[in-house]
């Protein structure tokens, strides 16, 4: 479970206020999709959850651990949080197998054989078991993103964070990545997804958060937010993209 309590974040020494006091809860196993115009703070909020951005004030408590407390070992916390980036961020100097097994071997101290076996299972799951010995440069965007998901899953995270995972993909590759994410959702993974894929949000999300101007302006089931938006800004945003 994730408690976000009165979270503030700004950039450029406070000049640029991005998050303005966000308070929310995400249940274990829940799928939350964040939508909203660019610059509304969706990605920043997501990046705060694994402290890639350090909030100015407020707190985030994940499964009872206040990750914003100074004494918290953030590396330990991050082991339970998988993150998938817009630009994949695969390690270009490592093979696909090494990309996936690096963290389990170095962080979890798994034996190499065990990590490799697990990697093969994950590669099978994302449909790329024949790519173990390839390098990232040899893969298409959709394949890279599926590998990035497998890499995150190799640490057996309890929560997966997705930061616009399909925004950098050619249209014909979006489907294959969303399929993997849908499958993951069926396994009961807790997921927080920033995306512009409204179809995915409708199908998978338990709740949709509409963010604008550093706050969650409206939230509810996909049906409630998409079909009967109450907030004027939500209506305006949806009228532009649907």
């Amino acid at each position: 479970m994730i408690y976000i309590n009165n979270l503030y974040k700004s950039f450029k020494n406070g000049e640029l206020k991005i998050l303005k006091g966000i308070t929310e809860t995400i249940e274990t196993g829940e799928k939350v999709v964040l939508i909203g115009p660019s610059g509304s703070g969706k990605s920043t909020l997501l990046r705060c959850i694994n402290l890639l951005e350090v909030p100015d004030s407020g707190s985030i408590v994940i499964d009872g651990t206040d990750i914003t407390a100074p004494k918290t070992d953030i590396n330990k916390v991050r082991e339970n949080l998988g993150m998938v980036f817009q630009h994949f961020n695969l390690f270009p100097h490592l093979s696909i197998m090494e990309n996936i097994t690096l963290a389990p071997i170095k962080v979890k101290k798994q034996p190499k054989e065990q990590a490799q076996q697990r990697a093969l299972e994950l590669l099978k799951r994302v449909g790329l078991e024949d790519k173990a010995d390839s390098y990232p440069i040899q893969l298409s965007g959709g394949q890279k993103q599926r590998i990035a998901i497998a890499r995150a899953l190799a640490m057996d995270p309890k929560i997966m964070l997705f930061d616009e995972p399909t925004s950098a993909l050619d249209p014909e590759m979006v489907g294959e990545v969303l399929e993997v994410m849908k499958e993951l959702a069926q396994y009961g993974m807790t997921m927080v997804v920033v995306t512009h894929e409204m179809g995915f949000a409708r199908e998978v999300a338990d709740r949709v958060w509409f963010m604008d101007d550093g706050n969650i302006q409206e939230q509810g089931t996909p049906e409630a937010v998409f079909e009967h938006p109450k907030n004027e800004r939500t209506q305006l945003f949806l009228s532009k993209i649907l």
Binding site: R78, H87, L102, A103, I137
Partner: protein
Amino acid sequence: MNILQSISNGLYATFVKDGRWEWFLSGLGYTLLISLAAVLLGLIIGILAALGKLSRIKPLKWIASLYVDVIRGTPTMVQLLIIYFIIFAHVNLSPWIVGALGFAINSGAYIAEIVRGGILSIDKGQTEAGRSLGLSQAQTMMFIIMPQTMKNILPALANEFIVLIKETAVIGMISNIDLLGAAKKVQGRTYDYLYPLLGAAVIYYVVIKILSTCLNRVEARMRKADER
């Protein structure tokens, strides 16, 4: 005496008589040895200095910045003389070791800037991906950032080695063991500047030409491999 005979006499006295070609060979050997040792040791110093300059720990940052600043702001020859006549004045080390150390300390400052630029040129997403997987900052640097940095800066390092081959000629201030030193020793015997100096220049040129051609080939091949 015609001109051809004078040339052949000069070449004979410079390279053949008393086996003087061996002096040049040994001098070239020391020049290459000192340059290679300096660039390898300089790489270690350079990596440490680059990490220091990028560190968030203020004293480390200051020390690394001061080192790079002072070395780049003073002549190589002055540094070499200070190291030989002051720092190692009472230590009995062979001149080539002192020379290699001196050039390593000198080169380290330039390599530090190469390494720093290399680290900064790696996409920030690489660090974020590493950290998000639970790797510590040090692990991310060691397993993700540095391997990519080293590959990117390899051509610049090889170039630094080639530059050092030329720069190490100033080691003559402390000892005549290098290639130029061999020319000076021969000149001391023959009282002729022309052939020893031209000979040394030709040898420097040929060696550097060979090395830089190899470097260009390797670079081209690396670029091709990246386009795979």
